[in-house]
Symmetry: C2
């Protein structure tokens, strides 16, 4: 999407590949929203480290980064011996796979690249196919997000107030994003609306990444405390909720997403406000039979006990180096579940690249949805 840096606006993707220099180029997301910077990973080991260190994060984005990283490692091979080459490819694959061992997207993306490489009859052909496959993976990621935008934009009308939670934005994909896709598309269509971004404690992705994204695209928005959404709904100030999903159960329509999503769904249901989940097909889990079986990651308590920010006077808005501050009572501890599960009866619809479905209709439409 477009980013304005020191007055100049240009289009950026979260991850791209510089074939001439064999470098993976990434937006350094750990500096956002206080600084915008592109960093180059000069070999596959640097690319793996960028995934590990969360220079890049988000399902689609780390999938594409791993695909490019595999192509990058493959390109770097010098020689024509198929056996040495195969061992090298395996080494690159394993290094990138270990970068974030619990994530499935890097593995799926790299498997797609490796499958395409099989058609090559020698090292050079396989190298060329790896690069083409990585580019295609990234291209497809963007196309899927754009398709989510096309379907979802119909839900937005002039004058609406939209609530978002966390950041399922373009920074989490190659471009466009999932929950943000309908918003960006509707904005491009000339619709004017207002977005309330849940701060999304404890990691504040709403206040940092989501607000930064919306500001860059010129979307009217305000940050609210997570506590404020219920009050806004009660006073008739929210017309639509759109969130993303980390895992959606294809069999039940249950949605696992950032902690607090379930709360917003319960509130929306009470106030009869449409609640939509925007997802790429890769986040549908066709195996699990019950949301209760989704493992809920318990994250480090320090996230709840403090926050990262730039020291300054209250009321100012300067950028600079972030520090961590402890907010909470020094002798207290915290409990920090990272995700929650929203049942299908609270979900109005699931926006996919293929169309919008009732959560209970995913299974019977599984062929359309790529299963």
């Amino acid at each position: 999407m477009n980013v304005s840096v020191r007055g100049r606006t240009a289009h950026y993707r979260t991850v791209t590949f510089d074939a001439a220099r064999n470098e993976v180029l990434l937006i350094e997301q750990r500096l956002l929203p206080h600084e915008f910077k592109i960093v180059a990973a000069r070999d596959f080991r640097e690319t793996a480290r960028a995934i590990t260190d969360m220079v890049v994060r988000g399902a689609g984005a780390i999938g594409a980064t791993a695909a490019y990283g595999l192509a990058q490692g493959v390109q770097a091979f010098r020689g024509a011996n198929p056996k040495t080459f195969a061992a090298h490819v395996e080494n690159v694959y394993q290094t990138l796979k270990q970068a974030r061992p619990t994530a499935v997207d890097p593995v799926n993306a790299m498997d797609q690249v490796r499958a395409r490489m099989k058609a090559g009859e020698n090292v050079a052909e396989q190298q060329a196919l790896a690069l083409a496959a990585a580019e295609e993976f990234a291209h497809e990621d963007v196309q899927h997000c754009e398709a989510i935008g096309e379907h979802g934009a119909k839900l937005l009308r002039n004058g609406m107030n939209v609530l978002t939670h966390c950041n399922a934005g373009w920074l989490a994909f190659v471009d466009v994003g999932s929950a943000t896709a309908p918003i960006y598309k509707a904005q491009q269509q000339g619709k004017r609306f207002h977005v309330y971004c849940d701060e999304t404690r404890p990691r504040s992705q709403g206040a940092t990444l989501m607000a930064w994204e919306l500001a860059q695209q010129g979307v009217s928005h305000q940050i609210i405390a997570d506590n404020a959404a219920g009050h806004l709904m009660q006073r008739g100030k929210i017309d639509l909720v759109i969130v993303g999903s980390d895992r959606t159960l294809g069999r039940t329509g249950e949605v696992a997403n950032k902690i607090g999503t379930y709360t917003k769904a319960v509130l929306a249901h009470r106030h009869k406000i449409p609640f939509y989940v925007a997802i790429p097909l890769s986040t549908i889990d066709w195996n699990l039979k019950a949301g209760f079986d989704i493992p809920i990651e318990e994250r480090h308590e320090s996230e709840v006990l403090g926050a990262w920010g730039v020291p300054q006077k209250p009321g100012s808005n300067s950028s600079g180096k972030r520090v961590f501050v402890r907010i909470a009572n020094p002798s207290s501890t915290a409990f920090n579940p990272g995700f929650d599960v929203t049942p299908p009866d609270l979900i109005t619809g699931i926006i996919t690249p293929t169309g919008i479905f009732k959560p209970g209709d995913l299974w019977r439409n599984r062929q359309k949805l790529g299963h």
Copy 2:
């Protein structure tokens, strides 16, 4: 309540009066939870400033502080001329009233002191009565909170998990607190339970004051992000919710309290978890006819855009000087309503010093409730 400072445990009140030195003694609440310190306001002007600068905050606490401040100013008068004395008293009264112009508790407290002074036949008698009345006001505040504790403690059983929001604790009163009173009483009765404290963004009173209070009393507790309560309820980990109230409508049973209270009430209702509101009688508004008419204070956006904390490495728990950090995207703004209104159908009961009432039964019990 008890506070441990450098290994020594002693009993403290939020506000007390040193008659010998004619000083109002206050816990310096702006330093908590990172430092515990008692400060002396040496004349009524310093007492007024302590209210303005929020050295002391919370309905009961600022009421008692104003009552003591009035007595303090009255004591300081030298002479016997009734006319000069009356003008002096009026000056003290107005100075303390202006300390926080929208609060009703200081005015109610001082009116009570002034009414008692009328029985005095000369300056010296009126001075003595003012002090006695201020002490009585503080004593009553404590007794009311203790009565809330007696009634509310019956709701707590061994092994329960209790959710709290914000801090309606002893720091907001002279002692004991409202929402905390049942917790402290049950703990004294030997019951063992666990408290989850909502962080309570944007001002984090749950993570700071509530957690500090519970730690001092040795109550088992953990801080959670405001986003996590729904998930905990869904997984059966909350058995009871107790919150305070800034204003309760005697005619309708609606409860205005810290932003986010309504959200917890909606969640508790969905999960059939008892939701109780603990209130002193002074917070019942017998006039207003609809919760929608309660003015909702819109507070400064900087509270949402950042936080106060002590800089340190994540995972450590050192004390020190607090700084403000900006968390949010520098070019974004925030919307910050300070309170919300919970309707009576979501409230299981209202715990008062007189007993526990259904919210819809307040009006017909108005005589018992001091109206």
